[in-house]
């Protein structure tokens, strides 16, 4: 029987999933909002059904509608991509109840990882290093905990993620108010007001390990990525591997990621995120993202493994086709996220008509995108237009190729982040590999493209 997969996402990742399905000989059905009927993914999918209006709540986040659409079109599995419904235990559960394979971890694993405090406790329980931190009830206890951790501290929402719901506190006098505010914001944004404290690491690199598990107890890691170039916790440039790590630190990272995967009996693709404190040469666990990541192509480029293909196959029950010993890293890959955002206006979104779309064409460059010339970039969703990925035998040659690629990239009709990306890639700090997670915020504050 032919496998038919429902693609419950949009944009470049929908195209990526459809391509992986095509190569596997699987059929696809894409659910779209009325704003996305003319996207590249809609042109490539086997069948397209309109879920609802442009607002995500009426289409891409409408769980019952998505499941109904998948069942009614005789799909057997649902690929949630990233964002939208990809990390919702209730959606994974609803798929299971309706006989659909959710291409992602089990609902119980999603539950455990969606709660950052639980994930932190899980990491501690298997001996994975975490930042100093924890939670407490009552102001005196919270104050005592912050004192023990040492200022500055970060207040984080247990059910937040990707930087949402975080607050930095530099002085004890600000703590009580920030704690209450963070808690009430978390309550309204995530439906749960649980917050906790962690040490704020001022000079840290963001490093993450790609993991992959099947339903037969096999688990591998596919090396690490560095994603330190971030604006307000949104990743902008990523690369693999992280060239700043010593062999010993790298081994700790990979081992930690696998321990967490093992404890969860993890099935599917996942990313275990860490902070690497450059001064102390210490890693600390941040969170696990139980889905395909935007930046997965850099890992694909250095491992030669099609992650989305493997993710689909393991979800359908196939055993992993390779072992840890088969995974070999080759060269260096960099990804730049080209977005419809204006670097001169604090990366404000700039939707509109893509009048010119002339991507660079060079050996070693890859472009994951859903954009074409004449495409009307809608204002309802995230600003990602495409991901330009450069591979070279080493970091310097990958940087050189990326630099040439960005210079040749022609986009007209709307403002993009290309000028900012060029400036980042050309910057001595980036080339010298000393960038930490607050570096780009500083650069943009100075005036991004001047």
């Amino acid at each position: 029987m032919t496998v038919r997969i429902f693609v419950a996402n949009r944009g470049e990742i929908a195209v990526r999933i459809i391509e992986a399905c095509e190569r596997l000989g699987f059929e696809t059905v894409l659910g779209v909002s009325t704003a996305d009927r003319k996207t590249l993914a809609a042109r490539r999918a086997g069948r397209v059904v309109t879920l609802g209006g442009p607002r995500p709540g009426d289409s891409y986040l409408a769980m019952e509608t998505v499941v109904q659409a998948a069942v009614s079109t005789d799909c057997t599995a649902v690929h949630p991509g990233y964002g939208f419904l990809s990390e919702r235990p209730a959606f994974a559960q609803l798929c299971a109840e309706n006989g659909l394979t959710f291409i992602g971890p089990a609902p119980a694993a999603l539950e455990a990882l969606g709660d950052k405090l639980r994930a932190r406790a899980l990491a501690i329980s298997v001996g994975v290093p975490v930042s100093a931190g924890g939670t407490a009830d009552g102001l005196p206890q919270v104050n005592a905990l912050a004192e023990q951790i040492g200022y500055p501290v970060l207040i984080k929402a247990a059910h937040g993620g990707g930087g949402r719901g975080m607050k930095r506190v530099d002085h004890e006098s600000d703590l009580a108010q920030a704690w209450d505010l963070a808690s009430s914001e978390a309550q309204s944004a995530f439906g749960d007001g649980t917050v906790f404290l962690e040490r704020f690491v001022s000079d840290a690199k963001h490093v993450e390990v790609q993991i992959l598990g099947d339903r037969h107890g096999n688990r591998v890691h596919l090396g690490e990525r560095e994603c330190s170039v971030q604006f307000s916790y949104q990743k902008v440039v990523e690369e693999a591997p992280c060239a700043a790590l010593s062999a010993a630190t790298r081994a700790i990272l990979h081992d930690s990621a696998l321990r967490i995967a093992e404890e969860l009996d993890y099935v599917g693709l996942g990313t275990v995120e860490f902070l690497y404190d450059v001064d102390r040469e210490e890693v600390s666990f941040l969170e696990v993202n139980p889905r395909v990541q935007v930046e997965h192509p850099v890992t694909e480029m250095v491992t030669g493994i099609d992650l989305v293909r493997e993710q689909i196959l393991v979800a359908l029950g196939a055993p992993l086709s390779f072992t840890q010993a088969d995974v070999r890293l080759s060269g260096h890959a960099i990804e730049c996220r080209v977005t419809a955002q204006d670097p001169d206006r604090a990366l404000a979104p700039s939707p509109g008509v893509v009048e010119t779309w002339r991507p660079p064409v060079r050996a070693g460059l890859r472009l994951d995108s859903h954009v074409y010339q004449g495409y009307v970039f809608p204002p309802f969703y995230d600003a990602l237009m495409g991901k330009l990925i450069a591979w070279g035998p080493d970091r310097a040659s990958a940087i050189q190729l990326m630099s040439e690629g960005l210079d040749e990239f022609g986009v007209g009709g709307l403002t993009t982040s290309l000028e900012l990306l060029k400036r980042i890639i050309a910057h001595a700090d980036y080339r010298g590999n000393s960038v930490t997670t607050n570096w780009l915020d500083g650069l943009i504050a100075q005036g991004a493209t001047h």
């Binding site: 059904v49 309109t50 109904q68």
Partner: protein, 142 residues
């Protein structure tokens, strides 16, 4: 393209396209709704496609469409086996119940927005209808 007839089979999918004349073997014909109107779409459309995800192209002059307010299963009668809420030729008042759309066991009623005569039923009982897909055509009456 120089051909008059094209047949393609893969798994349960059977496609048959003809130009300018009826297919020579009607037993090989796919279900009517699986035959789109152009060759280009024929080749790129898989078996699952019963309706393209197109917005309402608009009713014929003097008539209006009732479109689906949500994606779901389309039901013309209150229960299986019972007569439909409306048939072609029925005169309806604004607010009259026309059909039910089910999304995951949740039933929603679709009512006529204008008074008039039902001139066409555009979706099939029990099938998936998409958001904004035309369901009925009505000729408004004063």
């Amino acid at each position: 393209m120089e051909f008059t007839e094209f047949r393609f089979e893969k798994g349960e999918m059977k496609l048959a396209i003809s130009r300018g004349h009826l297919l020579s073997d009607s037993a090989e014909s796919p279900r009517p709704h699986a035959v789109p109107d152009t060759v280009e779409r024929q080749v790129s459309t898989p078996p699952a496609a019963s309706q393209p995800a197109q917005p309402d192209r608009g009713p014929s002059p003097g008539k209006v469409h009732v479109t689906a307010p949500m994606l779901g299963a389309f039901y013309r009668s209150p229960k299986p086996g019972e007569p439909p809420f409306v048939e072609v030729g029925a005169i309806v008042a604004a607010g009259d119940l026309l059909c039910i759309i089910e999304v995951m066991k949740l039933m929603s009623s679709v009512v006529a927005e204008v008074a008039g005569e039902i001139t066409a039923v555009l979706a099939r009982d029990g099938e998936l209808v998409e958001f904004e897909q035309p369901l009925f055509e009505i000729r408004p009456l004063p």
